[in-house]
């Protein structure tokens, strides 16, 4: 599938292509390879054809459905879709049909997008490989023996496999950027509060953000424009209109101050990945940016802070899955035992592990030592980033320590957690970051480079991302 969302929308809006044809092409691609990749929890073939036909009628009637007219889209299955199962890849929510749409879902549908399916994820977005799905793992389209990354592995794989030109994921500690890197696509973790969380099933509320995947920087920018902007249903939503992103993409990086984040170019990051980051720095420099080494010392504490804060919030967010109102119930003699039986049967081991960790971090006698301490570290990280952004407009770093790893390679939880080390700092700071494919590693698998910026610097990050995208393609590294 070579057509971008921008070209599809332009063609369908102009009446040059029918949305039904576009959808059929993508459904064909799904039919061809989905059994191998398993990007989806639910494929919505009939619904997608019906929605596409409605788009075609609207266009024929002279109306303009919007900037995503006729563009197939895949949604991570932790975004609520009215009447359509939303599972979070968990047995505990199997079969649950939300009675409402997430704000981002309403927005993409209102912009004319056609929903082709709900994508697989690590259960409740907890994981970095999509191996933690209750419905089986997703495979990396670039090498089916490897993981697609996670937790939004299904959404990344759907774009990489050409099942949809764009998709949405969620990023709590890297869950968009790391799979984007592994699958060779573009992924954006927006500024906290730029995109509404209403209808995103919560993992860690103070870290979660919804963001786009796309094959190109321009498509990612387009999709972010559609979903961003204030939502009165989310108290933590920034009270501002959606930013202009697409129109600024070709503005280049002349004079841009770029810092290469030294803390993330150290041991623990594979040499081939570091080499690509260095080449990306050179490419930005060649395009007129001023590139220097940068330091954000407190980022080295990010992992510890994250693995206390995120589980703590998760332990509370996931309490509601108690078998009373929706989802799985395992009957028992009394309600407390029913809660326990339902949760024990419904949650997988990683979710249980994080609930346990978070419950412990919040419990009497440990709150100050763990949760409160982690929140203070969060302040340090925010301050150190702020200091760096006095000197630099953007920071450059690897997206992940390695290329996509093999299934089962990280069966020890701590080693899996370490694979989030490059992405976690942005979530703790609430700042935006994007991952752009930039060549491959020694194993021939995609490497993503990460651009980080201060709050609401998406336009700048995307401009720099566009420069890297063309540099990579000019060098033939893709």
């Amino acid at each position: 599938m070579t057509h971008s969302a921008l070209t599809i929308a332009a063609a369908v809006r102009a009446g040059e292509r029918s949305a039904v044809d576009v959808v059929d092409e993508h459904l064909d691609a799904i039919a061809g390879r989905e059994s191998e990749i398993h990007a989806f929890v639910t494929v919505l073939a009939d619904e997608a054809r019906a929605a596409a036909a409605a788009i075609d009628r609207a266009v024929a009637d002279g109306s303009d459905p919007g900037p995503l007219t006729g563009v197939p889209i895949a949604l991570k299955d932790n975004l609520c879709t009215r009447g359509i199962p939303t599972t979070c890849s968990s047995s505990i929510l199997e079969g649950w049909r939300p009675p409402y749409d997430a704000t981002v879902v309403s927005r993409v549908l209102a912009a004319g997008a056609v929903l082709v399916g709900k994508t697989n994820l690590d259960e409740f977005a907890m994981g970095s490989s999509t191996e933690n799905s209750a419905f089986g793992p997703t495979r990396n389209p670039r090498d089916p023996a490897r993981v697609p990354g996670g937790s939004s592995g299904g959404s990344a794989a759907a774009v990489a496999a050409g099942f949809a030109p764009i998709s949405l994921g969620s990023d709590t500690g890297g869950s968009i950027r790391q799979p984007a890197s592994f699958c060779g696509v573009v992924g954006i973790k927006p500024t906290y509060g730029l995109v509404s969380r209403y209808g995103l099933v919560a993992f860690a509320s103070s870290l979660d953000q919804v963001g786009p995947f796309a094959a190109t920087v321009a498509d990612a920018a387009l999709l972010l424009e559609v979903i961003a902007g204030h939502d009165q249903l989310d108290s933590t939503s920034i009270d501002a209109a959606s930013p202009d992103l697409v129109s600024q993409l070709d503005h280049g990086v002349e004079g841009l101050r770029v810092g290469v984040l030294s803390e993330l170019m150290a041991d623990g990051i594979d040499a081939d990945v570091r080499r690509r980051v260095t080449q990306a720095a050179d490419a930005l420099s060649a395009a007129g940016a001023k590139v220097e080494e940068a330091s954000v010392p407190a980022t080295r504490y990010g992992l510890s802070a994250y693995y206390l804060i995120a589980p703590a919030e998760a332990s509370s967010n996931l309490a509601r899955y108690d078998g009373v109102r929706y989802g799985l119930r395992v009957d028992a003699a009394n309600t407390a035992l029913m809660n326990e039986a339902s949760r024990t049967a419904g949650f997988g081991p990683e979710v249980k592990r994080r609930i346990m960790l978070g419950t412990y971090a919040l419990s009497a006698g440990y709150y100050d030592a763990y949760y409160a301490k982690a929140q203070r570290v969060r302040t340090l990280i925010i301050c150190d980033f702020a200091a760096a952004y006095e000197q630099f407009d953007v920071l450059l770093a690897p997206t992940a320590p390695s290329t996509a790893f093999a299934f089962g390679a990280k069966d020890d939880p701590m080693s899996m957690y370490l694979s989030d080390v490059c992405t976690i700092p942005s979530n703790l700071a609430g700042d935006p970051a994007i991952s752009v494919p930039f060549g491959t590693g020694d194993d021939g698998l995609p490497v993503g480079v990460q651009l980080l910026g201060p709050a609401r610097s998406e336009a700048t990050l995307l401009r720099a991302g566009a420069v890297l995208e063309s540099a990579a393609s000019a060098a033939g590294v893709r």
Binding site: N78, L79, C80, T86, C88, L93, W96, P98, P99, Y100, A102, R197, Y198, G199, L200, V201, A202, A204, S205, S206, Q232, L233, D234, S235, T236, A312, E313, S315, S316, A319, R320, D322, V324, R325, Y326, T335, A336, N339, T359, L362, S363, A364, Y367, Y371
Partner: protein, 472 residues
């Protein structure tokens, strides 16, 4: 038989009130009592995955109104999550204010002038309602339970007093006064019978004269002001009993059983639950600006204590003597009638005794005029009462109503003649009266009343009798 002799009871009250908002605390569902089960629910108050809370501005304003009424300081505040599993709580945590409540440090003044300290009043959400089916509706014997989430997410203020109360009577007075304040300020309808005001009591005892507080027990399930008083009396005696027997009071939560008239253990402090409070990440801090606070302040009416003070000052009686009139919201009516030339004491007396159901069609002018007729002796107390009843029911002017009822005022000359006739008809009694025997007064008053068909003023008759006696 244990008595409280030598012991002092120390009481602090925690009162939860449902706020008089149109919608719930964090969503737009109606805040309404008595609707069909599970009709006022949405993703937010049902705790559906993905839903998020947005705070109701009116709920914050009502907290600010209570702050004005209870002299509390309004502070920057945040919400916490209080985590525990219970089927009536859709998210299995309660969103509540914890260590940074919106209002702190005020007081409530009882009608007798005693000030009860208020530690804090904070915002939180209510739970749903569980009905236990089978086993006579008791939780322990139920076969299963049914949950209705209409009440889940209804805004509450939890108002925590300091342990300043010293008797069941004082605690009852506090609860009544708080209810009056809540309704006057428009914060809550505060109906204990509908559960929109729920009172828990922390009770301890200590030997009279000691400063140290005893170990307290928290009493729950107090469904009326009467049970509040009964439960405190019971609990204080129970604790004294223990201490007299050389035992210890164990800090615990106890349940009041109205039918049995006793409290029993719910759980002890040793089993205190670990709620794992942490700041609610889905909400942002609330810090009302000075301008906002001032604009709210301007719309809060005078509270009962202030109204009692004003009425007492103008009528020259003690504040506690006007409490009932203020409680009936008749103070402004009485003050207007005083301003219209009415007699303060007569007006107060009539308002207290004869206007239990309000002023009806009675006008301020008519009320003032009636009190003058009574003072002037044109109407007796009995007649004034009758006229007042008619005025409340039908309206009109008191003189016309009195005339229509046949209450002709008897003039002093005519009354003097009737009195003289009564003296002449009862010579023995008159001799006793002259000798200072006041008991025979009734003989003459009775005779005069009979002759005038009750239209004479008893006090005027007595005055004439004294005149005649002095004249010899």
């Amino acid at each position: 038989m244990t008595t409280m002799e030598g012991w002092e009871t120390v009481i602090g009250l925690e009162v939860h009130v449902e706020l008089a908002t149109a919608t719930k605390l964090f969503c737009g569902c109606p805040n309404q009592f008595g609707d069909e089960p599970n009709t006022n629910i949405c993703p937010v108050c049902l705790g559906l995955p993905g839903s998020l809370p947005v705070l109701n501005r009116r709920a914050v304003e009502l907290a600010m109104r209570l702050a004005v009424a209870l002299h509390l300081e309004v502070r920057p505040s945040i919400f916490h999550r209080k985590n525990y599993f219970y089927p009536d709580m859709p998210k299995d945590y309660q969103t509540s204010q914890y260590d940074q409540p919106i209002t702190v440090d005020g007081f409530l003044e009882l009608p007798d002038g005693f000030r009860v300290g208020i530690e804090r009043a904070h915002l939180e959400e209510d739970t749903g309602k569980t009905t236990h089916v089978g086993g006579g509706g008791r939780i322990h014997d139920a076969q299963h339970s049914l949950v209705d989430y209409n009440r889940a997410g209804v805004p509450l203020l939890e108002i925590v007093s300091r342990p300043d109360l010293r008797s069941a009577e004082q605690a009852r007075a506090y609860a009544s006064e708080l209810r009056a304040i809540l309704t006057a300020a428009g914060v809550s309808d505060a109906k204990m019978e509908e559960g929109s005001m729920r009172v828990d009591a922390n009770v301890s005892v200590r030997p009279v004269g000691t400063a140290e507080l005893g170990t307290r027990c928290e009493i729950k399930n107090l469904n009326s002001i009467r049970s509040l008083g009964r439960a405190i009396d019971y609990e204080a005696l129970r604790q004294v009993d223990l201490l007299d027997a050389g035992e210890r009071v164990i800090q615990q939560t106890r349940h009041w059983n109205e039918d049995e008239g006793r409290t029993h253990t719910l759980r002890s402090k040793e089993e205190a639950y670990d709620y794992r409070y942490f700041p609610e990440p889905d909400l942002v801090p609330v810090a009302p600006s000075d301008e906002w606070l001032e604009s709210v302040q301007a719309t809060v009416p005078a509270m009962p204590a202030e109204r009692r003070a004003r009425l007492a000052e103008i009528t020259g009686v003690a504040p506690s003597d006007v409490a009932l009139v203020v409680a009936r919201d008749l103070d402004v009516f009485v003050l207007d009638a005083i301003a219209g030339g009415g007699d303060p004491i007569r007006l107060l007396t009539r308002a207290e005794h004869d206007l239990a159901d309000g002023s009806g069609r009675l006008t301020v002018d008519a009320f003032a005029a009636l009190s003058r007729l009574e003072v002037d002796g044109a109407l007796t107390a009995t007649q004034a009462k009758a006229v007042l009843a008619r005025l409340v029911a039908d309206g009109g002017a008191p003189s016309e109503v009195a005339a229509a009822m046949g209450f002709e005022a008897v003039d002093t000359d005519a009354l003097g003649q009737v009195v003289d006739q009564a003296i002449a008809a009862n010579p023995d009694a008159w001799t006793k009266y002259l000798a200072g025997d006041q008991k025979v007064t009734g003989v003459f008053v009775g005779a005069v009343m009979k002759a005038t068909k009750g239209n004479a003023d008893g006090k005027a008759v007595q005055a004439l009798l004294r005149d005649r006696a002095e004249a010899g």
